[in-house]
């Protein structure tokens, strides 16, 4: 039993919700020049990354017969806990407990399409108002209907835990929904003030906890369609390889094989089981043309400051002329971050069923609407005929913002005429993926005699990470460089009278994409490592040194950053004596208004850096789910340690050299430090939590090693010798 759906459609708030939902990442990063600001505004209005294509009203909620409420989430659950946050926000206004709300992903065919990928730690903040407003409106509609049926004034109707009541009258939401013929549209209700919150900010269990503990949670690889066949793709370990010839004689004879299909460069074995397809795929003999001959040294050379196109994104005072005045010494350092992969535990996979005028896709993607676009193009079918369903994601981290395998599945399904399930091998994930590109940073500064920073510059060289995907080649040309994603975090937050920041854009012959925290990760590593070195050089405490450059009572970000650092001093025991053999480091970052800082203690054990303790302070504004936030901080600490100490992809002769987990070590149980997490609510709206705590980890570890050994490491992953 569902609510009378039409009644929602004309609501203004839905449109507003849509706009907020589409509130793209573009707006918040815009740099200095009026031209650039103009361009960014243009980009935002281009109907490209930021619009909702349909506003069909059945998108948000359904009241089910068992008096539970179904919330169809436009944002994708990939472990970050977005379902739980949305359920809490809805439950707050609906006056039900969180366990009365069932969450599932909205499918693209159901109406609302979120044209912005789930990413950028923006889901909860962008839906904070719309979800509560829709929920409150639904509650008022239920109350109004109950009042009419009971012939009482609406003010006499109470709602509590999914029950409407007035005097002796009592009914569940489900009962009222079922007995309502026509809905009255109330005015947009006033939302609860923070002081009245009963759920938001309180402890609840994740809504997806039990299925994940019982093993019943369904991911793409667990999904099925009747009469489905399996396909295994035959790929070259070399980038951009092109099929020269195929000998599939042996493979065709292999048990269970249905067909071997080839369309252009797509080669797949279709069989009755994955095992049969996989066994046969090993027997296919392919000759490849391998035009991509990239070497690691080529990548390093390409991605170097001074190479490519420069876009100046921050300029105050006259930093460059001060640095060039020859009067005092310039402190100059270079930093590098390596290419890396996401290594999410669930490989990319998709199920497609292509019929005459109807396509069903099941795939775990961070961007179902992009999946729909890619499939429409691949098999030349109208978008409206495609319905993309999204199971839970076994990790995303940006990897599943790329198209995945839906197009391949659709092409094969069309050729074979049956539903097809296809997924990558782990080797495919490593060698045929999309990667976090390497970056290069040059930082220069001059300090006064008393150790104050007078002028500072940051030049970042990076390939585009995502802007091209959002605004295309022309958009990237207009912007000059990818300062929106790759250059995110390149700007300097500190009050220094003279500063200048440039992002140098260069293309690399490697498929590039976003990786958790995107530009914040390399930029925070470089900038905060440099700040630690400046403090070290000036003989000052690394936090006090920063606090001296964070003074501006009129700037909320600066004030919140001060508060974060002052809290960190206290909570981490920053100024207490430390044991022999321990180094302490710190770093801070402002990631789209979430301020995250970490104080880290390291030791060097048997010649290896060992992270012993991480104290995190995060000001993410309004807290929705405190335990969920802490889980995200812990995840960021572990991924941060992993990326700082171990992870590096390299290329040789046009081939990614790491093909297995054994060649790409990740942080493990043995790397777990003591982790303390403290949350500050420096604002009354929520900001992101999935990425901001990640970026300070690398520079804080580097700072701790500097503190312990006097040695500044400037290249990831860290190597002591």
């Amino acid at each position: 039993m569902s609510t009378e759906k039409k009644s929602f459609s004309r609501r203004k708030f839905l449109q507003r919700g849509a706009i907020v939902l589409g509130g793209s990442v573009v707006a918040s990063y815009v740099g200095c020049s009026p031209m650039r600001r103009f361009t960014a505004q243009k980009v935002e209005s281009m109907d490209l990354p930021a619009s909702i294509s349909s506003l069909k009203p059945d998108f948000w909620f359904e009241i089910l017969a068992d008096n539970t409420i179904l919330l169809k989430s436009p944002k994708i659950e990939m472990g970050q806990g977005v379902w739980t946050g949305l359920a809490m926000m809805a439950a707050e206004e609906l006056e039900v407990s969180v366990d009365k709300i069932k969450v599932e992903h909205a499918n693209t065919g159901s109406g609302l399409i979120d044209n912005v990928n789930t990413g950028g730690s923006s889901s909860t903040s962008s839906l904070y108002e719309p979800v509560r407003e829709v929920a409150a409106t639904m509650r008022e509609m239920l109350k109004a209907s109950a009042a009419k049926q009971w012939n009482v004034d609406i003010s006499a109707v109470k709602t509590e835990n999914g029950i409407l009541s007035s005097g002796v009258e009592k009914a569940t939401y489900g009962e009222i929904a079922a007995s309502t013929k026509e809905w009255d549209e109330p005015k947009t209700p006033t939302l609860k003030p923070k002081s009245a919150f009963k759920i938001i900010g309180k402890e609840v269990k994740r809504v997806d906890l039990k299925p994940k503990v019982m093993g019943t949670a369904k991911y793409t690889l667990d999904s099925e369609l009747p009469d489905m066949l399996y396909a295994v793709l035959v790929k070259s370990p070399y980038l951009d390889a092109i099929i020269k010839s195929v000998d599939s004689n042996e493979a065709t004879k292999s048990a269970g094989v249905v067909k071997i299909v080839r369309e252009g460069n797509l080669l797949a074995v279709v069989a009755k089981s994955f095992y049969a397809a996989d066994s046969a795929a090993k027997k296919v003999v392919v000759e490849w043309n391998t035009p991509n001959k990239t070497q690691q040294a080529d990548l390093i050379k390409l991605v170097t400051v001074g190479n490519g196109k420069e876009a100046n994104i921050q300029k105050e005072g006259s930093a460059k002329s001060i640095l060039e005045d020859n009067k005092t010494e310039v402190f100059r350092q270079e930093y590098r971050t390596p290419m890396a992969t996401h290594a999410q535990m669930e490989v990319n996979g998709a199920i497609a069923h292509v019929e005459a005028n109807k396509v069903l896709i099941i795939t775990g993607s961070q961007g179902p609407s992009q999946v729909r676009d890619v499939v429409a193009k691949a098999i030349d079918i109208k978008k409206d005929n495609i319905d993309v369903h999204t199971p839970l994601l076994g990790g995303g981290f940006g990897r599943k913002a790329a198209p995945g395998l839906a197009a391949e599945a659709a092409i094969i399904s069309k050729l074979v005429g049956k539903p097809i399930k296809v997924y990558n091998s782990r080797q495919h994930e490593f060698q045929n993926g999309v990667y976090r590109p390497n970056t290069h940073h040059v930082l220069q500064a001059k300090m006064t005699k008393d150790g104050k920073v007078e002028a500072i510059t940051h030049d970042q060289a990076t390939p585009d990470m995502y802007v091209r995907n959002m605004v295309g080649e022309i958009g990237l040309k207009l912007l000059g460089s990818d300062f929106l994603s790759a250059g995110h975090g390149a700007s300097l937050m500190y009050n220094v009278p003279n500063k200048s920041v440039s992002v140098w854009n260069t293309d690399v012959p490697i498929p590039i994409s976003i990786w958790r925290a995107v530009g914040m990760f390399p930029n925070t590593f470089a900038i905060e490592s440099f700040i630690n070195e400046l403090a070290h050089k000036a003989g000052k405490d690394a936090i006090d040194f920063r606090l001296d450059m964070l003074i501006n009572k009129d700037d909320k970000i600066i004030e919140r950053s001060r508060n974060v650092l002052e809290t960190l001093i206290e909570k981490s025991g920053w100024k207490t004596p430390k044991a022999d053999g321990v180094g302490r480091g710190i770093a801070i970052g402002n990631d789209r208004k979430s301020i995250a800082a970490a104080a880290i203690e390291v030791e060097i054990i048997e010649g290896k850096i060992k992270v012993k303790k991480v104290t995190n302070v995060l000001d993410m504004g309004q807290i929705i789910n405190p335990e969920g936030i802490k889980a995200q901080i812990e995840g960021c600490v572990m991924m941060g340690i992993s990326a700082t100490l171990y992870e590096e992809l390299t290329v040789k002769d046009g081939q990614i050299e790491q093909a297995y987990f054994s060649q790409y070590p990740l942080a493990s149980l043995s790397d777990v430090p003591e982790i303390l997490s403290f949350l500050l609510e420096g604002d009354d709206v929520p900001y992101g939590v999935g990425e901001p705590p990640l970026s300070p980890i690398a520079p804080a570890i580097v700072g701790a090693v500097l503190n312990l050994t006097g040695k500044a490491l400037r290249s990831l992953p860290l190597r002591l010798s």
Binding site: K212, M214, S425
Partner: protein
Amino acid sequence: MKIDFKLNGKATSIDVDPAMPLLWVVRDELKLTATKFGCGMAMCGACTLHIDGEAIRSCSVPVETIAGKNIITLEGLSESEANLHPIQQAWMEEQVPQCGYCQSGFMMAAAKLIKENPNPTDDDIINGITNICRCGTHPRILKAIKRAAEINNQNH
């Protein structure tokens, strides 16, 4: 080839290629999908299940080798939802999973560990479990295993 074994307490018979890895038999033939595919090379542990009480990475076990043996997957770890295995109780209490994909393998490895070692230290756990998690649930996994050991000891 016909192979008989016990799966989660039930007599089971399957007729497949004897070289087929147990992972695919369990997932694709018998439709128990808690056991996950992560790498296919016994490196990540997502496919861990129990064979005669041992925690084994099923992606690299040919099904012919399990004839007559007793296989337990996560679906068969608890007697019932009302009577959860201590590992699953602790996983609920500590809210361990994020994406959840690697958790079945971790829980199966952990269940075996606390059976053998009723009071594991962090070092015992670190040395005993080498599964991979990318979400970074490791800190909670350590806590949950020690909590599960406590629950287990209280029950006995």
